[in-house]
């Protein structure tokens, strides 16, 4: 609490800005910190609490029914060793990484960048109409998006109908390659975010830099790779980090579209976690899986932080 304590006995010179009226820019006192209490209570009870509790839960055999339900006991790291030796767990890890790579790192990221670049050049009316459609896909509730994309990919759905027009047989992606179908669905739903991030970042690149490079004879491709891309690096790193964290934890979209199936072929970690914790009632084991999911997210974030230019890391 020392940080919140009223002014400490003079350490160093007198306050640097003596002419400021009392109150603003001043040290935080206990009374002045009072407005922070509601937020602090909420965050401690509902965020910090569950996180700390999960560190305990992951090492127990807590269950909804069966042995761990009546009497919960400490089981050490066996939840983690169980997970790491379970084929279904590794199946989910691989699918989660595939899902994140296809839908976020490649799909949303590149398509978002492409759209942001295109909207600077395209006809303004067209650009406005198309970006509105892309953003509409983004703001729709997750369950609605799940159903819409389900009908698009389902047997006898829109995709088959369109492919049929050009003579391609039905694909039934939901059965043959469900992870690809849900990845496309996530691209559909999430691209708007990357597009908006990149559009804002491109707008902040001063036009005269591009112009003087053009005058020096740099073509559009050259200007993009040696001016635009380097200047986009901070936006690129933060965007990648945010969409990766988001995509790693996608649940509803896949749950609605495939439920993780058929035969676990689209069961990413959040769905595996859900199945273990609620279908099989193993709360302790499910929590251990959730912690491993967080670990993957943290590792990905560290990688992206290295993409940031030095001065941005602070």
């Amino acid at each position: 609490m020392s940080a919140l304590a009223p002014e400490r006995p003079a350490t160093g010179p007198v306050r640097p800005r003596p002419r400021r009226p009392a109150g603003i820019g001043d040290r935080l006192t206990l009374r002045r910190a009072a407005p922070m209490i509601p937020a602090a209570v909420l965050l401690v009870l509902f965020m910090a609490g569950p996180i700390i509790y999960s560190l305990y839960l992951a090492f127990t055999d807590k269950a909804i029914r069966g042995d761990g339900a009546s009497k919960t006991s400490f089981v050490g790291v066996s939840n983690f060793t169980d997970a790491l030796t379970d084929g279904d767990f590794w199946n989910s890890v691989v699918l989660t990484i595939l899902f994140t790579l296809i839908s976020a790192v490649i799909g949303q990221n590149l398509l978002g960048l492409l759209l942001a670049v295109l909207m600077e050049r395209a006809n303004r009316v067209i650009s406005f109409a198309i970006t509105s459609i892309v953003i509409a896909a983004w703001i729709l509730p997750e369950v609605v998006a799940g159903y819409l994309l389900y009908t698009f990919f389902a047997e006898g759905g829109s995709l088959d109908g369109i492919l049929g027009l050009v003579g391609i047989p039905p694909q039934t992606l939901l059965f043959s390659a469900p992870i690809v179908a849900v990845s496309f669905a996530n691209v559909w739903r999430g691209t708007a975010f990357s597009m908006l991030v990149y559009s804002a970042a491109l707008g902040a690149i001063p036009g005269d830099v591009q112009e003087s490079a053009a005058m020096d004879g740099a073509g559009p491709m050259r200007r993009f790779t040696s001016i635009t891309l380097p200047l986009l690096r901070p936006a690129l790193a933060t965007n990648l980090m945010l969409i990766t964290l988001q995509t790693l934890s996608v649940f509803g979209l896949i749950f609605i579209m495939t439920g993780g199936g058929p035969d676990r072929k689209s069961q990413t970690l959040p769905l595996y976690m859900y199945e273990q914790a609620f279908s099989y009632g193993q709360l302790g084991y499910g929590t251990a899986v959730a912690l491993l999911l967080l670990l993957i997210g943290a590792a990905a974030s560290l990688v992206y932080l290295r993409l940031l230019p030095e001065e941005e890391k602070r």
Partner: protein
């Protein structure tokens, strides 16, 4: 470093709040510098427009399905023009059981949680924005870190805790949790908007003897009204679409919001009536679409800029 400063100054009109200046506008001013369009630029414009149309059509098809199917009583999974337009699907779900109660629950859950979030966020952001203290930077970093925390990953312990304190299936508990889970981002956004309100105006209020809450309510908040509405609407839209939290924490049909009843829609009626599903999806999506139309692009751009570029 004067060149950088000059460049900053040059882009100043575009950069201070991307919220008010969407991408296309900056593109226009840049193009304006060069004067008229050459043939080369016209080709680029045409090619870019065509590429956008192709991408846009792909994005449009699923959206088209929901609109067309909702007016088609014999809708199938594939997008198709209704042979007979009718309001039958909307009429079929126009009752308390299917539509009004779930939507009312959504409103109660998300409206309540939005109020919880925004009141706590504004109160918390003020000391953050206005006072100096040693723990400020670590606390702020914690808040930013928490914004990236996947809520999905903590739902099992939350469920387990809620069972123990008997908050499962309690609207009150769900509101508090949903409110708390959106709090980090709301604090982060609100503090950013508050930082841009000049301190000088408050100083006169302070010298006149107004207290913290008084100053906040009558001086600071009115000056950050637009930022505050962006944060509020964004918080609400995020909660409105949230499926996992109410799916885990609420059980009885009396409490379930539209997000969850839409999921049970198909199982409830056996044979899925796709037209009715589409009609309900439209009712359920209408509020967020309306808020988006009211806010215009500033909702998305402002949020993406705050979260992505500064983040």
């Amino acid at each position: 470093m004067t060149s950088t400063a000059a460049a900053d100054a040059a882009s100043a009109p575009a950069s201070p709040s991307a919220a008010s200046v969407p991408g296309p506008t900056t593109a226009r001013t840049r193009r304006g510098h060069k004067g008229g369009k050459g043939p080369r630029e016209r080709t680029a414009e045409l090619a870019s427009s065509l590429a956008m149309i192709v991408i846009g059509v792909a994005f449009l098809i699923p959206l088209l399905w929901v609109v067309l199917a909702s007016f088609n009583e014999s809708a199938t999974l594939s997008v198709s023009w209704p042979e007979k337009w009718s309001l039958g699907n909307f009429r079929a779900i126009w009752n308390t059981e299917t539509t009004f109660r779930p939507l009312g629950n959504s409103l109660l859950l998300c409206g309540g949680a939005t109020i919880v979030t925004m009141v706590a966020a504004v109160l918390c952001a003020y000391p953050f924005s206005r006072y100096r203290f040693a723990a400020k930077r670590p606390l702020l970093l914690t808040v930013i870190f928490a914004t990236g925390l996947p809520i999905t990953a903590i739902m099992i312990p939350v469920y387990s805790l809620f069972v123990q304190v008997n908050l499962i299936d309690s609207m009150f508990g769900a509101i508090l949790f949903l409110g708390a889970s959106s709090l980090p981002y709301a604090i982060f956004l609100t503090k950013g908007f508050m930082d841009s309100v000049p301190v000088e105006i408050e100083e006169s209020a302070w010298t006149e003897g107004a207290g913290v809450l008084r100053t906040l309510w009558s001086v600071v908040l009115p000056l950050m009204r637009s930022g505050l509405s962006v944060a509020t609407i964004f918080t609400f839209v995020g909660m409105w679409g949230n499926f996992f939290v109410p799916f885990m924490l609420l059980l009885s049909p009396d409490h379930l919001p539209a997000a969850v009843t839409l999921y049970t829609f198909s199982s409830q009626y056996g044979q899925v009536a796709y037209g009715q599903l589409a009609a309900f999806s439209i009712f359920y999506s209408l509020p967020v679409v309306a808020l988006y139309l009211i806010m215009g692009r500033s909702l998305g751009t402002g949020f993406a800029a705050a979260g992505g570029v500064k983040g």
